[in-house]
Homo-oligomer: 598 residues x 2
C-alpha cells in the first residue's frame, strides 16, 4: 500500500526509533502526552492532508490566484481545506494548552504539518507564514499586540506574512528603503514597495498581519537601521474592517507554487498606512532572523516533503508499469516485467529514497534540536542544541531543496514520457520544488552564512560539537557487523571537512576574505553531504538493531534503510573529497573569471 | 551586446577555428561554397529565428495546441514562422542543389538550425521531424515514394512524424503491436494505437507523413518482426485530400515543449488506414535507427541550445542587476554592485558556460563526423568517422540533456525570485529542456546502448579510435604553456575509463550481464565528461594560439574559453574518477535493491 503523502512507517521510524521523541513526554511541558497522543495528532493531519489538501493539488496549479476587481480570487475549496486544518488546531499545534494549542513538541508538530506540505505545499504556505508570524508576535510583541493579534492568528482567523523583499534590493536587506515615520498617536506611517510577498493578498482570512521591515526616519544606513512593524491589512479599530492603505499592485506569476499568491504591495500610497513597532527600534533584522530561521527550516522540510511525495509516486508507478525485459532475458514472447525490476530504475528509486528520507531525517533532527533547545533539563544541553541548530540551519534549508529537487527530476525520469505530462503530479512537484532553493535566502546566501559566519561562531564550538556527535555515531557503528566500513568513511570525510575548514578560516584570517568564500556553495554541499551521511549511518544503526527481532514486513523496511545507507556512502559520500580538494586549494577559478571574458 | 539565441562569436569559433569547417569547401559536394556562403546561411537562420521564432516563445507556451471540432488549433503565427524558415530553404539546407537544397555541409546546416532550436524549440520540432522523415524516404524509399513525398517534405508543404511508441510498450519496441495487413492492391492496412507522437496532428502543412512502426501479419515476435510504413494523413490519390482513417484520440498536455503537439493517434479504426511499406519487410527497426540516431543527435543539440539561450539570459541579467556588495566591502552607503561581480554568481555563470559551450561543441563535433563520414576523400576516414559517431551518439543525446538542464536550473538561480516567474524565459527553458532526457530513448537507454553495445562493437575499435584522438590532443596540449596539466589530467581520466571498460566487459564475458550494466548511467556520465573535457582542451588549444595575435575583444573571448576549460578540468573532471571507482568494483548496491525493501 502506497501512502500518498509520506510513508507512515518511516515517520514512526524517524520519530520514535531514530530521534526518540517519546522521551520528550518525560519533560514537564509534554507530560500530558504519550506516543498515542502524538500518533493521533499526526494521523489527523495525514487524514486532512490526504482528503482535503491533496485533491486540490493539480487544481490549485491550473487555477492560480488572479485579481478580480482589486481582490484576489482563487478556487473556494482552498479556504475549506485551510479552515479544516485550522479548526483541527494545527496552526497552534506547538503552542501551550492555555493558548489554545496542542502543546506538542516541535518535532511532532512538524511531523504532522509535513503531511500538508507533501499534499499541497502551495496552499499550506498560508498556515506556514501564519505560524511564523504568531511566533514572532509571541516572542517580541507587547501584551496589547498579543491580545490584538495572537489568538486570531493561532485560530486561523488572521493570516500572517513576512514582508522583507523590495524590488531594488532583492536579497540585499541592507538596501531596504521602506520608511516608517513616527506619529504622535504612537503608530508609524509606512511607505514603500515590497515584492514577492507570499500570501500578501487573499480573502482566506478576516485580516492579514504583515510583518514589515522598514527604516524609521533618521535610522542609520544598512542592516543596523532596520526595524520591524506589524502592519495589518485592516486596522484593528472600530469594526476592524477599515482599510490600512496597502495596495495590491500586482500578482507574480510563477512556474510553480501556484496555490500561494505572490504579491507586489504598496504600503502607504495615500500616506495613511499605519504600523506598530514590534519590539525595539533598529532591531528588526535580528528579530526577523528568528522568523527567517524558522522559515528556512520550514523551507527545507517543504523541499524534503515534495521530494518524498514524488518518490512515492515514482515507486508506485514503477511497481505497476510492465515494460521491457532484463538484459540477459530478452525473449519477446515472455511477458514484460515491472520496471522496478530494471537495475537503472532501482538506481533512480534508491537515489530518491536516499535523498528524501535523508532530507526528512535532517529536518526532523533540526526540529528535535529545537525541542532540545527549549525543553532539555540541563541548561548546557539547551545551549549546545542551540549552537548545533544555528550551524545546521543553512544546511537544513539548502540540502533538501537541492536534493529534493533532484529526487523530483528522477521521479519524472522513472515515469518517462508520462512523467512529463500533466496527467501525473511528478512534473508539478518538480516545478514547485524549484522555488525552495531560492526563497528565504538563496542557497548561495545560505552557503555564505554557513562558511562566513556559522562555522567560526563561538570559536568554532558548533562545528566541534557536531564533530563530536559524528564521532560518537562512528564509534557505535564500529561495533556493529557490516557498519564498520561506513564508520571509517564518515570519520575520513569529517577529517577532510575539518582540514578544509581550517584552511579556509586561515585564509580569511590572512585577509583573503573573498577568495575564502568564493566556493562557499561547494562547502555547503560538502558539509550537507556529511550531515546526511551521518544521519544515514544513524538510521542504519537503528535498522541493524531492529532487524533481528522484527516482523517480516519490518525486516524488509530495515533492509531498505540499510541499502539506502549503503547507496549514500558508496555513491554520494565521495563527493565530499572532491569538493574539499577544490576548497582546500583555495581555487580561484570562479572568482577570477571576468565579466568581459563571458 | 548579448545575442538572444546563440553567441555569434562562439559559433564562428566552433565552426571555423575548432572544427575547421572551411576545409570542407575543398571537397566536391561543397566546392561552390565558401565561408561567406556559410555565414550568409547562418545569418539568415539567426535573423528568422530571432525575428519570427523567438517572439512566439512565451505565447506558444501559454496557448498550447487544443482540439477544436476534431482539429488541432494553435496560434496562427506559428505557421507564419515555420513557413518563413521553410521558404528560406532550411528544411533542405543539407540537401543537394538538384533537390532544391542549399547543399550545405551537415555541420553548417546544423549550426543554422541551432538558432531555431534556441529561439523556440517547441515549434521547430515540426521541421526537425520533417527533415528526419525526408532523409528516411530519401535513403530507403523507392522512386515512386520519393516522387510522392520527398519534394513536398523538403519544401515544407508536408510535414513528417516518427510514430514508434505505443501505450503498452513505451520504450520497449519489441512489444509493438500495431499491425499491417498486406492487400492485393499493394498497400497495407494498418491498425493500432500510438502515443506521444510529436507533431502528429496539426493544420500547418498540406499533409502529414507518418513513418509508422508496425508488424506485418505473421511476422516473427520481437524487434525482428517490425516493419516501417509511410502512412500519410491524407491519401495521395485523387485530389490528395481523402482522409486515411487516422483518428486523433487525444492531445498530451506536457510540462513544457508546448509548441509541439503531442498526440495519441488511432490508425485504422474503420479498417481503412493505408500505408506503404518503406524498404524491405522486417527491417523497420534498423531503418528507424537511422532516423532515431539523427533524432538523438538533434535532441542533444536542442538541449545544448536551450541551455545556451538560458545562459545568455542569465548573463545579461547578471550584468544589469545591481544588488549587494562584496564580502570585504559591505559599506551600505556605497552603491550596490552588479551581481556578476559576486563570486558565487560567477561560479554559476562559469558552470553554465562550461556546460553549454561544451555541449554545443560536442553536438557540432558529431555533425562534423557526419560530414566526414559522408564526404571524406579516404574510405578509411569515412569508416572511422562512422564508428566514432556511433560510439558517441548516446553521449551526444544524453550529456547535453543532463547538463543543459542543469545549466537552465543555474540560470534560474542567477535570476533568483525573478527567474522563477513567468516574466523571464529561463523557467520555460528549464521546463522545455526536461523533456530531452526522456524522448528519443531515455538517457538510461542511451547508457545501456553505450556500455552494452557501442564500446564493444567492432572489437572495441571505436573506443580505441576515440582514445587515439584524445591522446593526440593531450600531446598537443603538453607543448603549450599552461595546458600541460590538463593534458595529464585528461590522460589519467582516459586511463581510468579504459580500465573500467575492460573490467565491465570482462564481467560481461563471465556472464554477469545484468551486474555489468547495472550502473551504466554512471558510465555514460563518465565517458560524457571525458568527451566534453577533451573538447574543452581542444578549445583551449585554439584559444591559446589565438590569444597572442588577437584583437582586444577577441583576446577576452579566448580568455573566457581558457577559463571555462580550467573550470571544467578542476570542478567537473574529477567526477570521472569517482564514477570509475564504483563501476570497476562492479558495485551491486542498486541492482541488489529489492522491491519489498523500498
Amino acid at each position: 500500500m502506497t501512502a500518498l503523502t509520506l510513508n507512515p512507517r518511516d515517520i514512526d521510524f524517524l520519530l520514535y526509533e531514530l530521534l526518540k521523541v517519546e522521551e520528550l513526554t518525560e519533560r514537564p511541558p509534554f507530560a500530558d502526552h504519550s506516543r498515542e497522543t502524538f500518533a493521533a495528532a499526526i494521523e489527523t493531519a495525514r487524514k486532512i492532508a490526504e482528503e482535503r489538501f491533496l485533491p486540490l493539488y493539480r487544481e490549485t496549479d491550473l487555477h492560480e490566484p488572479r485579481i478580480v476587481e482589486g481582490r484576489v480570487e482563487m478556487i473556494p475549496s482552498v479556504k475549506e481545506a485551510l479552515d479544516a486544518a485550522a479548526e483541527a488546531g494545527f496552526i497552534a499545534a506547538h503552542k501551550p494548552f492555555e493558548q489554545g494549542g496542542m502543546q506538542l513538541p516541535w518535532t511532532v508538530a512538524q511531523a504532522a504539518l509535513a503531511h500538508f506540505k507533501a499534499a499541497n505545499i502551495g496552499i499550506f504556505a498560508y498556515h506556514f507564514l501564519t505560524i511564523a508570524a504568531a511566533n514572532m508576535i509571541d516572542a517580541f510583541g507587547n501584551e496589547a499586540q498579543k491580545a490584538r493579534y495572537l489568538e486570531a492568528l493561532l485560530a486561523g482567523r488572521f493570516y500572517g506574512t513576512m514582508a522583507l523583499t523590495e524590488p531594488q534590493a532583492g536579497s540585499s536587506l541592507a538596501d531596504i528603503r521602506t520608511s516608517a515615520e513616527p506619529t504622535e498617536a504612537g503608530h508609524y506611517l509606512l511607505k514603500g514597495s515590497k515584492i514577492f510577498i507570499s500570501c500578501g493578498a487573499h480573502e482566506l482570512s478576516e485580516n492579514i498581519v504583515h510583518l514589515v521591515l522598514a527604516r524609521i526616519k533618521g535610522a542609520p544606513p544598512g542592516v543596523k537601521g532596520i526595524s520591524l512593524f506589524i502592519v495589518p491589512r485592516y486596522r484593528m479599530e472600530g469594526d476592524g474592517r477599515a482599510g490600512n492603505d496597502i495596495t495590491l499592485t500586482g500578482l507574480i506569476h510563477k512556474m510553480g507554487y501556484r496555490g500561494t499568491t505572490s504579491t507586489m504591495l504598496q504600503f502607504g500610497e495615500k500616506g495613511d498606512c499605519r504600523g506598530e513597532l514590534l519590539g525595539e527600534p533598529h532591531m528588526g533584522l535580528s528579530y526577523m532572523f528568528r522568523m527567517m530561521n524558522e522559515a528556512r527550516i520550514g523551507v527545507g522540510l517543504g523541499a524534503a516533503c515534495l521530494g518524498y511525495v514524488g518518490y512515492l509516486n515514482a515507486l508506485d508507478y514503477a511497481r505497476n508499469r510492465p515494460q521491457g525485459r532484463k538484459p540477459d532475458a530478452k525473449d519477446p514472447s515472455r511477458p514484460p516485467i515491472a520496471i522496478i525490476e530494471h537495475a537503472d530504475v532501482k538506481r533512480m528509486l534508491l537515489a530518491q529514497k536516499a535523498y528524501v528520507e535523508g532530507a526528512l531525517a535532517l529536518c526532523f533532527y533540526a526540529a528535535r534540536l529545537i525541542d532540545e533547545q527549549r525543553s532539555a533539563p540541563e541548561v548546557e544541553a539547551r545551549r549546545k542544541a542551540g549552537l548545533l541548530l544555528e550551524l545546521l540551519t543553512p544546511i537544513v534549508k539548502a540540502w533538501p531543496s537541492d536534493y529534493g529537487a533532484e529526487a523530483n527530476s528522477l521521479a519524472i525520469q522513472v515515469l518517462g514520457g508520462y512523467g512529463y505530462t500533466r496527467d501525473y503530479p511528478v512534473e508539478q512537484h518538480y516545478r514547485d520544488n524549484r522555488l525552495n532553493a531560492i526563497h528565504e535566502g538563496t542557497n548561495g546566501i545560505q552557503a555564505i552564512d554557513l562558511l562566513g559566519r556559522k562555522v567560526a561562531m563561538a570559536d568554532g564550538e558548533a562545528l566541534t560539537l557536531f564533530a563530536q556527535e559524528i564521532t560518537r555515531s562512528a564509534e557505535a557503528a564500529k561495533a556493529q557487523v557490516g557498519l564498520g566500513g561506513y564508520a571509517d568513511d564518515l570519520t575520513r570525510a569529517l577529517g577532510a571537512i575539518r582540514e578544509t575548514t581550517d584552511a579556509l578560516l586561515a585564509a580569511r584570517q590572512r585577509g583573503a576574505i573573498e577568495l575564502s568564500l568564493a566556493n562557499a556553495s561547494l562547502y555547503l554541499d560538502a558539509l550537507g553531504h556529511l550531515t546526511v551521511a551521518w544521519l544515514w549511518l544513524r538510521q542504519a544503526l537503528v535498522a541493524r538493531e531492529g532487524e533481528a527481532s522484527a516482523r517480516p514486513e519490518d525486516a524488509d523496511f530495515y533492509r531498505g534503510k540499510l541499502q539506502a545507507c549503503r547507496y549514500f556512502f558508496r555513491f554520494e559520500l565521495p563527493k565530499i573529497e572532491q569538493h574539499c580538494r577544490i576548497l582546500s586549494a583555495l581555487d580561484g577559478t570562479t572568482m577570477e573569471m571576468q565579466d568581459a571574458w563571458f
